[in-house]
Symmetry: C2
Subunit: 447 residues, 2 copies
């Protein structure tokens, strides 16, 4: 779905009009194109210590120009990386954060700010925990101050994981790149030193077999297209009633279609059987299928409540159980589930939907622990306001509000959700598990 408003106010007389009337002026976000530069200019790296030096070496290996001192007047920066992994007390944030602040005006449109710091834990001494947790408040505020499509996100390293661990670099590339266009104000936690950067950064899923449920349209179809673009072989799944649309998507991505009601008891076995018999393996499972049956709880009936729970969470649990019990998955199996900001913040009229999506997040954290031994991961993405057929049916005034109350002042595109899933499904994210990554433009609504 196009966002006509953003088109209108981003050029010509529409742009002048919006400026004069003080209307929100969302900009066209930089989105991924194979072969385009990772960032739109040199990257300023602030902070000192082993982490900063390791990040400099790694980023130079990506053919980026890295500045370690304040940029010369007139420089346009593609990004700022703030290395904070060595802070030991809250006073240590000052120098690197202010150095980053002094360079904010030099950022190009759709530039990136990325913090690299350590996850705060109860095992930390209080001053250390305060410094580490403080990074989160800083970054979330900073992201709200950026303009012109620039975003701010952070990487949280577990103790023992170095700043240049594969998944830390994978997350850094993702956040710097156009793939994270609509990810803003968010953190990814790198829990282990597992993971592997791809040989070809434009084909990170080469050789992988991926199943996507609910793939006949909308976000699911975008996920299938994006994973296929990144090199995966696709199995697209949807209900028989969506068979025609599903066949079109399957043709488009040169994959195979599986018509299946995911709430059936044997859905997991059928998915596995299809993937193994047709493609010889199953590496990635994307649980995207989901429904809404909105009603205030005072008016909710059991049919509406139960159907949402059945499709959105019970089916995922049953399918995962079947796959994990089969013993027929390879090492490094990837599960990515689609949750929702409604599951985090709650939403009026969506007690059932929010229960199911919060449930998905609980499931993912538990499943991550169970997959750790085999090198597998389970993560979720939580979309905010995304421009789809579903959101196009929201009444105009509400839709306009929903779209604008985020730091990027616009709705996201289905491809934005797909890019985040593509990253979490890749080998580069092998050290990232049990995360919930919001794809919401830093949507205001939260816990």
């Amino acid at each position: 779905m196009a966002d006509k408003y953003t088109d209108f106010v981003s050029r010509g007389w529409g742009r002048d009009l919006a400026k004069r009337l003080g209307l929100p002026q969302p900009v066209r976000l930089r989105r991924y194109e194979p072969g385009a530069p990772l960032v739109p200019g040199p990257v300023l790296l602030v902070g000192s210590g082993a982490g900063a030096d390791a990040l400099e070496t790694a980023m130079k290996g990506w053919d980026l120009e890295i500045l370690r001192d304040a940029p010369a007047a007139g420089t346009t920066l593609g990004g700022i990386v703030i290395a904070l992994d060595g802070v030991s007390g809250p006073e240590d944030l000052s120098a690197p954060v202010l150095a980053a602040g002094a360079a904010l005006r030099a950022l190009a449109p759709s530039a990136r700010v990325v913090t690299v710091s350590r996850r705060s834990s109860t095992a930390d001494e209080p001053a250390l925990a305060a410094a580490r947790a403080g990074v989160e408040g800083t970054l979330r505020s900073l992201a709200k101050e950026l303009r012109n499509g620039a975003t701010g996100n952070g990487i949280l390293l577990a103790d023992g994981v170095e700043a240049d661990a594969p998944s830390a670099l994978g997350a850094l590339r993702f956040f710097l790149s156009a793939r994270s266009a609509f990810v803003d104000g968010q953190f990814l936690t790198v829990g282990t030193a597992k993971g592997e950067l791809p040989d070809d950064p434009d084909k990170p899923l080469a050789g992988k077999v991926a199943v996507v449920t609910g793939a006949a349209r909308g976000i699911g179809a975008a996920i299938a297209r994006t994973l296929a673009r990144d090199g995966a072989t696709l199995v697209v799944v949807d209900v028989p009633a969506a068979g025609d649309s599903l066949a079109k998507v399957a043709n488009e991505v040169r994959g195979t279609a599986l018509q299946l009601d995911i709430t059936k008891p044997d859905a997991g076995e059928r998915i596995l059987e299809h993937a193994l018999s047709r493609h010889g393996g199953l590496d990635i499972l994307v649980h995207n299928a989901g429904i809404t049956r909105d009603k205030l709880l005072a008016n909710m009936d059991a049919a509406k409540w139960d159907s949402v729970i059945a499709v959105n969470i019970a089916a995922q649990l049953r399918i995962n159980d079947a796959l994990l019990a089969s013993g027929r998955l390879g090492e490094g199996f990837r599960i990515v589930s689609v949750a929702s900001t409604s599951g985090i913040a709650g939403n009026r009229g969506q007690t059932n939907y929010a229960a199911s999506k919060a449930g998905v997040m609980g499931m993912v954290r538990s499943t991550a622990a169970r997959l750790a031994g085999s090198g597998g991961t389970a993560n979720a993405v939580a979309p905010g306001f995304i421009e789809t057929e579903m959101t196009a049916r929201i009444p105009l005034a509400m839709r306009e509000v929903g779209r604008r109350i985020n730091s990027l002042q616009q709705g996201g595109q289905p491809v934005d959700v797909a890019e985040a899933i593509g990253f979490l499904a890749s080998d580069a994210a092998g050290g990232i598990s049990g995360n919930v990554l919001r794809v919401c433009g830093q949507y205001w609504m939260g816990q």
Copy 2:
């Protein structure tokens, strides 16, 4: 500070006008008065199993009328308690949640909905984790559907903690009571079976010596008054420049004043010395003192950044260190820090303030772990929009927005923050540590 708008639209022709124009119509919230009933009517208890039965017994001991079946037509409920501690999969939420939903229209103004469930953990099987996490999405949505000052909050029991453990009952009483007027959409986690309900519920802090920093005005003065009302002996602390106001507060609460710059290296020693020499002990420390020095990070200077860090977090760390190292505190020492929703969600223009307040949350989690052995606790409250001299200086339009974008459609009062702190400082909260309790009327802004 009075909220004149709420006064205006809650009675007479102002009420009619607001109704016709479709303006927000916040209601006067029920607030604590000694001797008033805990809830404004009978309590419907839904859910089954040992947890529900234990809760029934406990609540009957508080002289509440408890209904276990749908209320008769015409009944006005004071609250609904949803016992969900026995759920094992997401399907188990349906019956009790729908039973609660069917009774929502019977709720009195300022009634209460409280869920009692178990904290989701990575050790849970995926279906169990999904069910437990699902409660959070349900409750947060439900709270957004309540009207007329009614609130929804939840209690998360750690495994091994029963539904009628002292702090679970303490949290239940707090959530049911008028003390939690502006706490909405929030959870308290009960981590241990420690804690003790007070002999006199109107004097839960009898015999305690409490120190409150930043107590000369605003929220700090309200904290001092509320803790004194609840039976504590007060030491009120503020900078020498606020000496006159501080003396007035000290007189009012029949406590003693300590003029002190909390950023001085010996602040902790001076607080301890004062409390011990004047009052013979120190049981409760409330870190309320805080400052703002707002600027966009691009315009921030080191003086502004560093002063906020020094007052809001570094001072708390240094004072805690001194007190905990002294070996002169009793068992069950209580620390309650004032954080902010800005530290959770981030806020434009407040990178420094959000860093300090997020830091407070990290500090509290770490300190909680260090106090566990001695039966002490450390927690934080995170106020949202509270009507104070500080918020009265926000330009009108921004202030109106800030006040209305929460489920109760109004700003909170300083006493609302104070009540939450009073609860966390009490013996009844002995099993609650490392929590951050938002006092924000379910302010929309979050992570």
